[in-house]
Each structure stands twice: as structure tokens, then as C-alpha cells.
């Protein structure tokens, strides 16, 4: 009996130990899972939304995210890259449901959207960016560290607030298949002016025929044609733009070209307009027949397959193009007519400055962000000199921040700040808005086809042109009146809110009065031109 009692006690003790071990294991499992969950729940996630699916962009944002998380453990950046064709729908759905990312590219968002859903950064951009410490931008207001001085920030011209901050600059250049160039043209340098370009195109065609090859001088599509047509046409209206500028502000007509064709200003009969059309026709002769029906991807494919020597397009295509091209690619400027050109030289002032242009991938801060300070901090990092350099080097896009070095391979895309004031074009042949753009694009084939010409094109344009100018002006007037009305509320509010910053009201009044006076003048002119 004594022995049984001892065994029983032993079994009991073993049982207790086993139970204790099992309990200990279970407790450890539960506690460790809870702490993982606790760590993940305490992690801050900043979501950034954009549509830049081009090669290298997502990698660039990932590189920025990685670096930032290294500096800030506990913060994770989550990228949401959405295809461009559905981006606006995705954005609107997100905004409506309060589910939008913390930082997002909005495109040309309307003032109501900006004011309702995003946080103005006006105060923040006046302060230095702390991530520029140790660089030559240390202590410089964040706004002044950008190549464009944030002059294109969304909301600035109307609401007098800075809503967006760009991360990149984009320019347009001429991509050249260097191997094919050498094969067909020998050691001839890349075209420096318009005559060089025409000569090179002629020689490429001749050599191509001689060698039994089907190689076009220029990879053509409606899009790539516009990349050449626009700057070349504008080269011819540089002086005209100054002549018709009654305000002496050296600014060419831009988004509102219709105003340039008010009575007493430019007409379709101006020699400069004729020269602009002719220079377009001159270069169009070297584009593949039917190019107006081709898409940008068709042109890129033709270039990559070495069926064309040159391709005019933007820095945004650099990685996509070079990654599929098994040949060296040289980058050149879009050739400009020289001032001694017998026909086109008399109209030009010189290659225009690229200052203030091309800002891209501009991010806004959501007013709904659960972590606005962290999101803003990441935005500062992305647009600091070191951060923007990470972005530029990885994406091969151009940095938006002063002194941030681009990738060696894309330095030829950097903005050229030196140059003259630009001219103006009648309308684009792609992505245009309004009636002038519609009739221009609709009839452009009469200009560029082999049996077309300047006069047949103008003959097709003239019947509808005056009405198109009137309609576009009316649209511009309406848009400005909407902008004037939209400012009435904020102005009334600023008068009622005790505010240390009286500059806001002053800027709103300045903007409203300028817009109101301009729309009133345009309306009076539009009425008298079309009684």
C-alpha cells in the first residue's frame, strides 16, 4: 500500500509538471501573438496613390518608402499605383467614401475638390524642409527649393493656397537610335537646328531606299507628331506673341489662345501664322503616311524595332524605351530654326526657356488622413534634396528639387532655364479642348498630307474659325465667372474670421478682381466682335 501511494504521488507530480508545461507553452504562444498584433496595430501606414505605371516609377516610390521606414521604424509606406484610365473614378470613389490615400496625385482637380478633400500646405511650404539639413538648401523655405518655385501648385491661382507639391519635372526631347544614325548618316552630328533636321530626314529616306530598307526618319503617331508640331509652330509666333500682347507682360497666350484672335490682334492671314503652318507641313512630310491614326505606342514600337531613327517624346518614356531598345539611344533637343533661316528666321526670338514648365506627379495631402503629420513628413522627405535624388536616380525622371542630381542617363532631359519667351500655337492636334482645337485637329490632314498645303488647310478652317474663337472665348469667360463666384464665399468668410494673416484676404481679393476685370474685358470684346 505504501508503494502504490508513492507511485500515485509521482504520477500526480508528473501530471502537474506536464500541465504546467502545457500551460506555459500556451501562455507563451498567446502572449507572443498579442505582441506581434500589438506591434502591427501600432505601426503607422501611410498610403500614397498615383497613376504612374511607367517603368521605374513604382521602384522609385518603393526606394523612398524603404529609406523612410529605415529612418522611421514603425512607419510603413504603402504604394497604390492605379492605371490612368480608371484613376479618376478610383479617386472620386475614395474621396466620396473617405477611403482615399493619405497622399495622392489628383491631376487637375477642381477647386471644390481641393478645398473639400485636401489640406492646404501654404503655411508648411514657407518653412524650411528639415530633410534638407546639411545640404545647400538648409534653411531655405520649402517652396523655394523647387525648380519651379511651386508656381504651378494646384489651387494657387484661384484659392490662393498651395495644395500640391511635385516630385518630378518632365521635358520633351528627341530620342535618336545612335546606331542607325551612324549606319545611315555616318559621323554627322545630331541635328542642332531645323535645317539640320530636314537635311537628316531627307538623307535617311534616301539612304534607306538605296539600301533597300524600310526605315522612316521619324517614328510617327498623332502624339509624337504633336511633340514636334507644337514647338515648331510656336517658334514662328514668338515675335507675334509680343506684338499682340497689350499688357507688356512678356507672356504668350497659353490656355486661352482664342483671345489672341480677337479683332486687332492675330489673324489666320498673319505671315507668322502661315509660316507656322508651313514649318509643320515641312516636318510632316517625313512622317509615315497615316500617322494621324497611329497611337504613341505604335511610334515607340517602330523606334524599338529600328523602323524609325528618331522619336520625339518625353522623359516619362525614357525607361520604357531604353529597356526595350537593343541599341544605344542618344538624346537631343527638338531642333529649332536658326535666326538666319531664310523663311523662318525672321519670326523667332530664340529657343524658349523651359523655366516654370513640366512639373509632374504633384501630391496633395488628404484632409481625411489619419496621420497627417506623418504623411506630410514623408512628403517633405520625398521632396528634399536627398529624397528627390533617390527618386530621380531610380525612376530616371527628372528631380523637381534644386540641386538634386538626376540619373546620368537622363541628364540631357534637364530643364534649360535659359531662353526666350515662347510663342503660341492655334491648337494642339491631340488632347485639345474647345472648338478651335476640334476644327484644327479635324482638318489637320489637309495641311500635312502630301497633296495638302497651307492654303487648302486654311480654306477648310476659315468658315468655322470665327465661330470657334467666339465659342472658346465664351467658355473662357464662363469659366472665369465661375471662378469669381467661387471666391465670394471664402472672401466673405475671411472678413468674418479673426485672422492673424491678413495676407489671405488680400490675395483672394487680388485674384478675384484680376479675374473679374479680365472676364469683363473679354466679354465686351466678344460681344463687339459678334454683335
Amino acid at each position: 500500500m505504501g508503494g502504490n501511494t508513492m507511485i500515485g504521488k509521482l504520477i500526480n507530480r508528473i501530471g502537474i509538471v506536464v500541465l504546467a508545461l502545457i500551460f506555459g507553452w500556451a501562455a507563451w504562444t498567446v502572449l507572443s501573438r498579442d505582441s506581434t498584433l500589438a506591434r502591427r496595430n501600432s505601426e503607422i501606414v501611410i498610403r500614397i496613390g498615383h497613376w504612374q505605371l511607367e517603368s521605374g516609377l513604382r521602384d522609385a516610390f518603393d526606394a523612398l518608402a524603404k529609406r523612410y521606414s529605415e529612418m522611421h521604424p514603425g512607419v510603413r509606406i504603402k504604394q497604390e499605383a492605379v492605371p490612368g484610365r480608371v484613376y479618376q473614378t478610383w479617386m472620386k470613389t475614395g474621396l466620396a467614401g473617405g477611403q482615399e490615400p493619405d497622399l495622392m496625385v489628383t491631376g487637375q482637380a477642381r477647386d471644390e475638390v481641393l478645398a473639400r478633400h485636401f489640406t492646404p500646405l501654404t503655411h508648411e511650404i514657407a518653412e524650411p524642409n528639415p530633410y534638407n539639413k546639411g545640404t545647400e538648401l538648409e534653411g531655405v523655405p520649402w517652396r523655394d527649393t523647387f525648380v519651379d518655385g511651386l508656381s504651378n501648385s494646384l489651387g494657387l491661382q484661384t484659392l490662393q493656397e498651395y495644395y500640391s507639391v511635385p516630385i518630378a519635372i518632365l521635358t520633351i526631347r528627341l530620342y535618336v537610335n545612335a546606331a542607325l544614325w551612324e549606319k545611315l548618316l555616318g559621323d554627322r552630328p545630331l541635328p542642332e537646328n531645323f535645317d539640320d533636321l530636314i537635311a537628316a530626314c531627307s538623307e535617311i529616306e534616301r539612304k534607306s531606299r538605296e539600301l533597300g530598307l524600310d526605315i522612316a526618319p521619324i517614328a510617327s503617331s498623332r502624339f509624337t507628331a504633336e511633340m514636334l508640331f507644337s514647338p515648331l509652330f510656336k517658334s514662328q509666333t514668338q515675335k507675334l506673341a509680343l506684338q499682340i500682347n497689350k499688357l507688356n507682360n512678356l507672356t504668350p497666350p497659353r490656355s486661352a489662345v482664342a483671345a489672341a484672335f480677337l479683332p486687332g490682334l492675330a489673324t489666320l492671314d498673319d505671315p507668322a501664322i502661315h509660316d507656322g503652318l508651313q514649318i509643320v507641313r515641312d516636318i510632316a512630310q517625313f512622317m509615315k503616311p497615316g500617322f494621324l491614326q497611329l497611337e504613341r505606342e505604335d511610334a515607340i514600337l517602330a523606334f524599338a524595332q529600328q523602323r524609325a531613327v528618331m522619336l520625339p517624346t518625353g522623359a516619362w518614356d525614357f525607361l520604357s524605351i531604353t529597356s526595350q531598345c537593343p541599341f544605344p539611344v542618344a538624346i537631343g533637343r527638338i531642333p529649332w530654326p536658326s535666326s538666319d533661316h531664310p523663311r523662318y528666321g525672321k519670326n523667332i526670338l530664340g529657343r524658349p526657356s523651359e523655366a516654370g514648365s513640366g512639373s509632374a506627379a504633384a501630391f496633395c495631402l488628404s484632409a481625411n488622413s489619419p496621420h497627417p503629420e506623418v504623411a506630410l513628413d514623408f512628403l517633405r522627405f520625398m521632396t528634399s534634396q536627398p529624397g528627390n535624388e533617390i527618386f530621380a536616380q531610380t525612376s530616371k525622371w527628372l528631380p523637381a528639387v534644386e540641386g538634386a542630381r538626376p540619373s546620368e542617363t537622363t541628364k540631357d532631359f534637364m530643364l534649360d532655364m535659359e531662353g526666350a519667351t515662347d510663342g503660341f500655337a492655334i491648337a494642339p492636334i491631340i488632347y485639345g479642348n474647345g472648338e478651335m482645337a476640334r476644327i484644327y485637329a479635324q482638318n489637320i490632314h489637309r495641311l500635312v498630307e502630301p497633296d495638302g498645303g497651307v492654303e487648302p488647310f486654311l480654306d477648310s478652317l476659315r468658315p468655322a474659325f470665327a465661330q470657334a474663337v467666339h465659342d472658346d472665348l465664351q467658355r473662357q469667360i464662363t469659366d472665369q465667372i465661375v471662378a469669381v463666384r467661387r471666391l465670394e464665399g471664402p472672401i466673405a468668410a475671411q472678413r468674418m474670421i479673426p485672422d492673424d494673416d491678413a495676407k489671405k484676404l488680400s490675395a483672394l481679393l487680388q485674384a478675384q478682381n484680376a479675374q473679374e476685370a479680365l472676364s469683363a474685358w473679354l466679354e465686351s470684346q466678344n460681344k463687339s466682335a459678334n454683335p
Binding site: A115, L247, L250, T251, Q510, N513
Partner: protein
Amino acid sequence: MIYGLFLGGILSAVPLRADETANMEGWASVARLQSDEALRAFSGKSREDRYGRSVAILNQQPRSEANVNEAGRLFEELVAENGNDEIGIQAAYQLARIAHVQLEKPEPALAAKRYELLIEQHPGHPLAQAAAVKLAILRLYSLDSDSPPKKRLEAVEPLGAALRDPDAIRDYHLVLADAMGQMGLEPSQALRHLQKAHATSRLSGKLEADVLVRISEIANQTGDCNLAREFAKRFLKQFPHDERASTLRKKWEATP
């Protein structure tokens, strides 16, 4: 009893603070173009609440003529009750704005009358000063638009004499400078107004850049090289990233 008075004082202060807070929220919503939120915030019966509601209705989206007319009716009520307090003056200004820019078919003559009345009754008030600028725009472009440019400019010049508010002075001179340029008058006349606008030190942003360029260019055309150079250099210092910087730099930086 003292305790009761003390407590009563505290309790009576609470609704006031809540009201003020709600009004500030209302105005902040109006500033953010959030009319629905503003209408919820302006829920009281005070004149400020009613004025705030009227402004919110006026700016509510989607825009409708019915809302504009309703807001007008409410502003008229506020003016009729008291046209001389701050709310009454604000409401009178809004009524002029309705006739000027808010109606689908603007009524420029009515707008001008309302601006003139505001200027006559409250000449020193910032809104009367702002009204003078709006009246200048009407007289230059909408009223009597068949009369020659010089006559229209003469009708506007007296408005400037009474101005004291710096923003109104700035915008008055800018409006005149633009009109003179667009009407093709002697550039030197526009130059005078541009200089007066600049002298207010209230210009900002792209418009400031424009004014500096215009003063420099017009001064150059009229032979005042010193003035042209001075303003070119101001522009280059303040707006180095502007697309016009290279042009002006080439023109002037070589000169002492």
C-alpha cells in the same frame, strides 16, 4: 445669492461660446467651399447666423438661380432690419454682388446702383472701398460700353480719389492699368497706375511678377532705362524661376 449670480454668469457664457465656436466653424466651412457643413453650423437666430446661412446658400452646389434668389431675399431682410451694422453692410455688398456676377443674367445697372449706395453711405468701410473697384470694372466694360475708351476711363478716375484701403487701391490701379493697355492707350498712362499698385506693397504671387515685368517693359519702351532696370532686377531677385527671367536677365544684368 452671489454664488447663484456667479453660476448664472458662467452658464450664460456657455451658450455664447458655443455660438461663437459654431460661427467660426461655419465661416471655416464657407472658406473651404463646404456649404452644407456651413448651413449646419449657422443654426442660430443671430444676425451673423442668418448672414452666414445666406452666404452658404448662395454658394451651395449645384448652383441654382433659386438659391441665388433666396440668398438675395435673406440679405435684403438683413439690410432692411439694419443697414448700418457690420452684418447690414456685408449683406448690402452681397446684394450688389448678386446683381453683378451671381445672376445668370447679370444686372449691371442695378449692381452699379447698389455699389454707389454703399460707397455713399459707408465711404470708409472696407466693403465700400472694395465696391469702388467693382464699380470701376462695371463702368469700364459693362455700362455704356459704346462710349469711347477715354470717356469710360474718365468716369472711373474719380473713384480712386476716395480710396484708403490698400487692397482696394492696389486693385483699382491694376484694373485701370489693364484697361489702358487693352484699350490701346499710351503705355505711359498704364505705367503710372502700375507703379501706384506696386507702391501699396500688397501685390503677391504671379500677379506681382507680372506687374514688375510690365513696369520694366513699359519703362524701357518710354525711355526710362533706370526705372526699367530697377524693376527688372527686382523681378529677377524675387522670381528667379519664372520663364521670363532669362529674357530680362539678358536685357539688364549686363548693365550696371
